[in-house]
Amino acid sequence: MFRRIYQWLDERLNIGPLWRDLADHEVPEHVNPAHHFSAFVYCFGGLTFFITVIQILSGMFLTMYYVPDILNAYQSVKYLQNEVAFGVIVRGMHHWGASLVIVMMFLHTLRVFFTGAYKSPREMNWVVGMLLFFVMLGLGFTGYLLPWDQKAYWATQVGVKIAGSVPLIGPYIETFLKGGDVLGAQTLARFFAIHVFFLPGVLLALMGVHFILIRRQGISGPL
């Protein structure tokens, strides 16, 4: 059944090479924890991706209830947390996942650094990975404001003030982040937009490049 669907598609689209790229490749022994337990350090990248997928899915469900305006944001989160079936779990996954994805990404970065995997010819993928790290931190910063509770409000107030203390461009960054002179309705609306549309778009594009590069160049050899 699946074979016939595959053949039908393959006759029209030549998906053989695509399939080969995606799944039909060999995994060398030095990255396989089944052969060397210490190779578990090679799992962190995959786990980062796995948790990112969880973040995207749980985030999609959260937007079904979340209302990005200052009067209703807090109440909608509270309702989601206390009234909605499994709301506490979905929000919990997004909340803890945000920390976990940073941890996994950090460990993945350290693995790449200490195995020297960023060396020629993989310099570009390292840079893409660094950009991914910044995007993730941006997602963390913008997402922190969205529940609009005391912690969110005051932490963002401090973060924006620190950004504003940068010489020359600081005041412009501050105005851009706040969307005006005060941290309020405009800020919440644009943090929501940045958190839900802009940064995830950049994230997916960079992840695409990250994965295409690793398939093109192959994983780095054993030490």
């Binding site: 022994e29 578990f40 995959g46 919990g92 390292w126 931190l137 609009w148 509770d149 093109r216």
Partner: protein, 261 residues
Amino acid sequence: MAGRHEKDVEYVGDSRVIKRRGGPLTPPDYTEFPGKTEPFYPNFLLKEWMIAVVSLVAFLVLTMAHPSPLEAPANPNDTSYTPLPDWYFFFLYQLLKYEYTSGPYTVVGTILIPGLAFAALLLAPWLDRGPKRRPKDRPVATSLMLLALAAIVFLTWAAVDEHQKHMASQGGGSGAPTVEVSPDAPEGEKIWAKQTTCQGCHGVDLKGSGFAPSLEHVGSNLSQEQIVDIIKNGKGQMPPGQFQGSEEELQKLAEWLAQKK
């Protein structure tokens, strides 16, 4: 799963780069590596999936054991709140608290040190160009990274430590106050110990704060019914519906508070 076009091209390594293009773009062929290779699909993917499932279960246990926190609604007038960023920003935040990174030197803490560190990280492949990959064979890169790691761990610890000391000196406020209740304490006191939102303003010890009254003698002014009404509907700056728990627990809490005379 071979498509009919597969016969027309010869692949190199694990990628769809076609052999005749060859040249420096050719990815390594893993058959050249020592040891056993394994197909990604389905063998390796299955193992990866098992690791992912174990992680997912641990993650769900964490999620269920610790529901994500939600404090009182944002109150821009409450300047007594002690703000704290998310934990992975602690080290950047703490960096701004030292003599040569704050005040007139703020630019050192906001731009210079983080900027240099992140630029070095971004350009690492061009700064660390030698062909050797083992950490021992590139002592400069390894020791710099270990130093940065130690600095991050220290600054994160310092931020937590400072925040905890600050909270202890304030007695309540934000953060996660820890309340110890003896097992034979009244039911109402046990319920109060769980109400972190209420404690955020009224203090763990009911002593109140700059923006919420003390509850130590609330019973001399209000009856149990009036307390229930205020908890449910709010009063003045106090927002409604902050109580977390059942109606029965609310009544017990109000009964306990009404006895505070």
